[in-house]
Subunit: 515 residues, 2 copies
């Protein structure tokens, strides 16, 4: 942190203070990333883990993976000793595992506000919002295509959320901006509307290059060269396929020492076997191949073991969320990631519901709890996800983000020092007494219990007189209050102008593309 602070001072230089924006800064409290002081739940025994690991090597060796339309990748694999025939890469037993040894087990992703930099790996959990939905929903206007205004609103809500450590990436798809220009506006929003860390573009290698260039303007070129300032999402086309677009983006990020989540994207029963053990085998094979490839591009490039896994409803074919099979896979994949010594990404505010109702909350709470207890280090989608990821929900963003506070408190574990043993309180109160007024309670009540900032704790009568509002209604009001009170974080005017110029210049070089 002190190093980063020095870096910031150095970059803004002697005249930096003079060029600073005059905007008053408003204190937005952001919690430090979670450092777990509780154990993980280990649902697979050693024998099961061994079998899955052996089978994953068999998959890589016998079946192999496809690197599509990517001759450079095939050549890298040939040079590394793999058996390459056409686009199929068969990786000898043990090779991928050997190659990934250079990937770090933990890394720092820097934010422009060094207090908000995050450590990804170890016992840490970094929370980032929903990623990717083409639609948004709020209780007033319903479901509609997402726009850049929506995107900015979600970045603002994320900035103001105490429990979100990370601004994420495509918090919704700004469908009113041409596809080839979106990434510029999205990155500019993350860079200017918040000072939390963020993700880069992956929809084309050239957009990854733009992301790196914009980061050089924000952080300084030397700093970006030597530090990780983006964590981006590289999905694998499960089963066992690595397409040129995603690999092209990965190549850019790895070459620039920027972090990538290497993530199988699996609806169990469709893109992987209809069994937990089979899905885990495929996930492990895919991650091994993808992470090994990242290290072929640049040894030491920071990567995350990703697992986006849901199950399918065999009646309707729809993906389902918050289900027990997804939990089992998430727990198991966490164990596999830890055995590889890689940071782990999984879980999120998953649900299939169309509304921020009871279904949404059951499924989400199942997923969030399982994410905490499975040892996830980077949780994308940790708030705002609705309708199987098709929709970013304003109300659910606020409701979920509030629940993330409960994860922080649960992860703190149980303090057992003399003050928390509270023997003085038990002695003072005695049988039949009352603790509300005792000294121990007075000393500790402010720090003892987590409290929701959006849910209702009022007596029935008060709640009824105030309009008998359900959670979605309470959340709507919270969204409005938050957006109305938003103030951007202070920013060096010269930096923000440089970013703006870059975006304008790049846009002027492109024609509009909407697909």
């Amino acid at each position: 942190m002190s190093e980063a602070a020095t870096r910031r001072r150095g970059r803004t230089g002697g005249g930096g203070a003079a060029r600073r924006a005059e905007r008053s800064t408003v204190s937005i409290e952001t919690a430090r990333f979670i450092e777990r002081n509780i154990p993980n739940l280990e649902i697979l025994n050693a024998e099961a883990l061994d079998i899955i690991e052996t089978n994953a090597e068999t998959v890589l060796e016998e079946i192999g993976v496809n690197f599509v339309n990517n001759e450079a990748a095939l050549q890298r694999w040939r040079d590394a000793g793999a058996d390459v025939q056409g686009e199929r890469v068969r990786i000898p037993r043990g090779l991928a595992r050997e190659l990934i040894k250079t990937a770090p087990s933990q890394f720092t992703q820097h934010a422009r506000n060094p207090d908000k930099s995050v450590e990804i790996g170890g016992k840490n959990l970094v929370l980032a919002p929903v990623y990717g939905p083409p639609f948004v929903h709020d209780m007033e206007k319903g479901r509609r295509y997402a726009t850049m205004d929506d995107f900015r609103n979600f970045v603002k809500l994320g900035h103001m959320s105490k429990w979100l450590h990370h601004s994420g990436g495509t918090v919704c798809e700004p469908t009113d901006i041409p596809v080839n220009k979106r990434h510029l506006d999205m990155l500019q929003a993350h860079m200017t509307l918040t000072d939390k860390p963020f993700m880069g573009s992956v929809t084309d290698p050239s957009r990854a290059v733009d992301s790196v260039e914009m980061c050089k303007l924000l952080f300084g070129a030397d700093f970006v060269d030597q530090n990780t300032v983006m964590t981006s999402l590289i999905n694998i086309n499960s089963p066992l396929t690595f397409d040129d677009v995603m690999m092209g983006a990965l190549e850019v990020y790895a070459a620039n020492n920027q972090a990538a989540i290497i993530s199988p994207f699996i609806v169990g029963g469709a893109m992987a076997p209809v069994s937990v053990a089979g899905t885990l085998t495929q996930v492990l094979a895919e991650v091994l191949a993808g992470v090994a490839y990242s290290q072929l591009v640049r040894k030491g490039a920071p990567v995350i073991f990703g697992a986006f896994v849901t199950s399918i409803d065999m009646n309707s074919g729809a993906p389902t969320f918050g289900t027990p099979e997804a939990s089992q896979i998430t727990y198991g994949a966490g164990q596999l990631a830890r055995r590889l010594g890689l940071p782990y990404r999984s879980a999120g505010s998953f649900c299939g519901s169309k509304l921020p109702d009871a279904q949404a909350a059951y499924e989400t709470a199942n997923s969030l709890n399982m994410g905490l207890l499975s040892g996830v280090n980077f949780m994308l989608h940790s708030c705002g996800w609705l309708e199987g990821g098709l929709v970013s929900s304003y109300e659910k963003f606020v409701l979920d983000a509030d629940q993330l506070g409960a994860l922080h408190q649960l992860a703190r574990g149980v303090s057992i020092d003399a003050e928390h043993q509270a023997m003085d309180a038990i002695r003072e109160v005695g049988p039949g007494g009352h603790y509300l007024g005792c000294g121990h309670t007075q000393r500790n009540f402010k720090t003892s219990f987590w409290r929701s900032e959006v849910l209702d704790y009022k007596p029935f009568e008060t709640w009824y007189e105030e309009g008998a509002r359900d959670s979605a209604t309470l959340a709507s009001e919270k969204v409005r209050r938050k957006l109305d009170s938003y103030v951007p974080p202070a920013m060096d005017v010269a930096v923000s102008e440089a970013i703006n110029e870059f975006v304008s210049k790049r846009k002027s070089e492109m024609s509009d593309a909407f697909s």
Copy 2:
């Protein structure tokens, strides 16, 4: 099971078949109680457990507990070696722990349908519905005082729920029946409207006697003498107080070898210290004293280590549910119960919400997941709880009971046999393929994924055309369909008549009492 089946045949005797009701039996599938094949989450380390256990003994020895208005109990304690002064019982270090050694670590609670008997203890989890609310709520008629009709409806819903193993006790308070007669109607409903196991009355020792007498009619007197056919809820008046009503009921049940949950009832910050470690200390001290007392009444009487714990909102004074502190206490108490070798009761569908909305579901899912992973053996309140336990909700009963299916599936753990390894499927499908049609999927999809029977998995367009129903609306419709299709389980007419006669006779001996 075969022993119980023999018992039933024996009781109905030679003419039994002829006297059987002619009602057709409808097959209501009930899942077997959960046998966990996954580990528990152990959040306290050995040092913390040792400190809490040592402190609990200090509480018993130094501070002691009050047995109120109960000279027989005080005499039992004197005889056992405790220091009794007035109503205060100080228990020498180690004595309670020694006394509880005769309590069984696991016991069978028999149902009148022997297929539905449950094993309480070990790795098992038995699920029972909400207990105690004076109000009911449904989306159509709103919140109102509960009646005996509501009570019967909830027993019917419980009977028809695949995932509920137990019919519970006071599923709501039938406020239209005089207080002194309620237990008779409630027990009759559990005995006739379902064939799942149930709980006895605890609101007065005489009502516990009635409960035992009615069970003798249902199961046969000899059978009741030798077997456990009720598990009843004995709350401790925390802090550290054992009142004469609850202890009187416990004395009846223990003397008759019927099971009791010995359960501190704690709103943290009010009835226990405002810290997790302090609350756990008090819970352990209270359970040690209560369980030890049960063994003074009758060695070997089956008892359960109970912990009903929630936290308080220090802003409003309201109890809060599904909070991280309650989870920590529940995890920790599970560890303490296992170290004592006692079955453990905790968790449930806890929430503070006034409606079956997102708040209700977040808080409930937090509590249910934590209950499964903390090693709970008997989960009262596992469905239907609303508004801090003041309300039994029809819709939430159905929504929660559906979620209990996910707990079953999660607890099954991960199969690692050759079929579940699915290597044939991965080989068959290969890179870029699709699993939906492969042989492995066809063989396994019916048994692979848990599926909700009330939540919505439809595409947005279908859902919208069908009325854009939220979870509460879907649940309302499910409640109506279930109640409309209810058919009582077959029952020996002579037994049901005997129960009816007993209820009528006992009622005729009482005047109405409404408080």
